[in-house]
């Protein structure tokens, strides 16, 4: 087991920068998930950890040792590939034993450990089958088993669940988490699915265009996004990003949005005082917008037209048109709303996130 760190790592392919000067580390035993849209550099980052790509600049460390020049076979990491990469000419048992045989472990040990891991993963009855005879979930387990038998310093997983159907994916999320708890191996997991990231990670590193956007535990990433990209990437349904304007008179600063004037004070107020007339973007999570009777609590109230109601059973998603904007709201079940109805809405300005309109940087 080991810590993992990337120090100022850049990777360029023929002049095209895939990963741009990132600093990232995972503590011993941590479950770190790198998430981001396709082409954001997350897989390249993982491949640098595995040793398949060499950083153009910067240092990759595993267990404190710089491994830039260490070939994959000597890094003692295990990897699970998106497409499993099980050798089709070998049975499940031989695929599991592949690495151990290369490492010349005694035949008795191999047999014992392969059987044990297969039992643990529920593939004990499949040992004599070839990969072609297995379902997606079963292949996934074999790939996991092969990685576990490596007894690695670190696990590297590259979108391991993306070829599975939804139900199986949910089950495997749970199992991966359980396996991680059981073995406690430092894990770096790459995915484009924010749900996987939120449900499994100790810490999430969110990447976009080769840059690290934010590294934080899931709750922090959700509640305190550092910019509008992070805010919109994490959370389902997506956060509502609403264009707004800063207005200021002698005493107060207000944000004008959704036909309301929202007073701001404190640190945010003083930041915005310098931005009179500027555009900003406010972020409101779907659950932060609530229906209300007119004019309560002194909170900003605005009106909207219900466009679409999606009852999910445990909650209801409602699309509401406010001026030019359509807001997605998450209401309790049986909200009694119907398309075409007009509703009063309010939110708590304390929960509102304000971003710079151009850079997307969080202002408060």
């Amino acid at each position: 087991m080991a810590t993992i760190s990337l120090e100022g790592v850049t990777k360029a392919f023929k002049g095209k920068v895939a990963v741009d000067n990132i600093d990232l580390d995972a503590a011993d035993g941590q479950f770190l998930i790198i998430v981001g849209p396709s082409g954001c550099g997350k897989t390249t980052t993982l491949r640098m950890l595995a040793g398949f790509e060499k950083p153009s600049r910067g240092v990759v460390r595993i267990g404190g040792r710089a491994v830039n020049d260490v070939p994959p076979k000597d890094r003692n990491v295990a990897m699970v590939f998106q497409n499993y990469a099980l050798l089709p000419h070998l049975t499940v048992a031989k695929n599991l034993a592949f690495g151990m045989r290369i490492r010349h472990e005694p035949r008795k040990t191999i047999e014992r450990e392969v059987t044990a891991i297969a039992e643990m993963l529920g593939i004990g009855s499949l040992l004599d089958r070839k990969p072609a005879e297995l379902s997606g979930g079963e292949r996934q387990r074999v790939a996991l088993g092969r990685a576990l038998l490596r007894k690695p310093n670190a696990f590297l997983l590259d979108e391991p669940l993306s070829n599975l159907d939804a139900a199986l994916r949910a089950q495997m999320r749970f199992e991966l988490k359980r396996i991680h708890a059981q073995f406690g191996v430092t894990t770096v997991y790459v995915t484009h699915d924010q749900v996987e990231a939120m449900t499994m990670a100790d810490r999430i590193a969110l990447m976009n265009h080769g840059h690290l956007q934010q590294v934080a535990p899931p709750e922090t990433l959700y509640s305190e996004p550092s910019n509008s990209f992070v805010a919109s990437f994490i959370g389902s349904p997506k956060i509502n990003l609403v264009e707004a304007q800063v207005l200021r008179d002698t005493e107060t600063t207000v944000i004008s949005a959704l036909s309301c004037k929202i007073p701001v004070n404190g640190d945010l107020g003083s930041t915005l005082r310098r931005m009179d007339g500027d555009s900003v973007v406010i972020g409101l999570r779907p659950e932060e917008i609530r229906p209300c009777a007119a004019g309560t609590d002194g909170l900003p109230v605005f009106q909207g037209l219900v466009e679409l109601v999606e009852p999910l059973g445990s909650e209801t998603h409602v699309a509401i048109r406010v001026g030019e904007q359509t807001l997605t709201c998450r209401f309790p079940p049986r909200s009694g709303l119907e398309a075409g109805a007009t509703v009063n809405l309010q939110f708590d300005p304390q929960q509102m996130k304000v971003f710079d309109a151009e850079s997307g940087t969080r202002l408060g």
């Binding site: 398949f52 497409n83 099980l86 050798l87 000419h89 592949f98 005879e133 292949r139 490596r150």
Partner: protein, 303 residues
């Protein structure tokens, strides 16, 4: 990519029989007749071609067992005197020589072209494109053109009259096509297989032997069979480079029946021909079982 194991019968194999089984349905007979008339011309062409191939083969079989065989076809009398004559003329030794030449050249050519095909597929090489074009060009060079300089070289290094060095030249004639073939097979192998083996602790050579070679085995077999057949039938190279009568391979030895005594000994020639064909036929039968497995990574990679 299916999760059920593949069945042996191709899809739709039962279709024509199904139609024939249902003569009661109106118009079935007409449809059947139309279907067969539709296939009449292609079938006729196939039959003509088939006969054209079968006649010489039939002559070979009949003549081999006929002690008084001529260039014409005659009812056989089933005697093995021709085979005795063939053996006493050295058929056994010649075939053993052919096996040696073809075996050594197949092993050498297959090993060399597997390594070269892998490197050309996977690694950055300066001038890789021109090298590959050159390789394809080399497959087209006529062997007689190369043989004179090769003979000169063999004289210089004193390699003449050696079956081993002769087989190296035979291997060299097969290597360009084999490289080209195997490079394309390696191209088809997803890199994840190699990367998975690498993180498991395999070095480059072990990845090649344990992962890539099994995956491209159909290609290696095709290349080996082509090399073997090429070397098995080679006439000019062993004739020129090895004049020791004890080293004569089958393809050269069979020539003795044509020129000896100024006339053709048809019976022993046919018997010799059958004996000489047997190893290749056996090779075909064995390899076809292997090759029918096909070239597929099913199950290993999903995508």
């Amino acid at each position: 990519m299916g999760t059920t194991p593949a069945t042996d019968s191709p899809p739709g194999a039962g279709q024509p029989r199904l139609e024939a089984d249902l003569p009661t349905s109106p118009g079935a007979g007409v449809r059947l007749w139309r279907a067969s008339s539709h296939r009449f011309l292609p079938s006729l062409v196939m039959a003509v071609i088939g006969v054209a191939f079968l006649v010489p083969l039939g002559w070979l079989l009949l003549a081999a067992f006929n002690p008084h065989a001529t260039s014409g076809m005659a009812a056989p009398t089933f005697s093995v005197t021709n085979f005795r004559a063939a053996f006493s003329a050295g058929a056994g030794r010649d075939i053993a020589n052919s096996l040696y030449l073809a075996g050594v050249s197949t092993i050498v050519a297959t090993v060399v072209s597997t390594l070269a095909g892998y490197v050309l597929s996977r690694h950055y090489l300066p001038l890789k494109g021109p090298v590959l074009v050159g390789v394809i060009f080399l497959t087209g060079l006529p062997i007689p053109l190369l043989l004179i300089p090769i003979y000169q070289m063999f004289v210089q290094v004193n390699w003449l009259n050696s079956p081993f060095y002769t087989s190296l030249v035979l291997a060299a004639t097969s290597v360009p096509f084999a490289i080209w073939l195997l490079k394309n097979f390696v191209d088809q192998v997803p890199r994840e297989f190699e990367e998975a083996a690498a993180v498991e602790g395999s070095g480059q050579m072990r990845i090649l032997v344990r992962v890539v070679v099994p995956l491209i085995m159909p290609g290696i077999l095709v290349s080996a069979i082509l090399t073997f057949i090429n070397s098995w039938g080679a006439f000019l190279i062993p004739l020129v480079l090895d004049s020791n009568p004890n080293d004569t391979p089958g393809a050269v030895g069979i020539y003795n029946f044509i020129t000896a005594n100024g006339q053709v000994q048809f019976g022993p020639l046919a018997a010799y021909g059958i004996l000489f064909s047997l190893p290749v036929i056996i090779l075909y039968i064995i390899s076809s079982r292997w090759l029918s497995g096909g070239f597929s990574f099913a199950g290993g990679i999903k995508g």
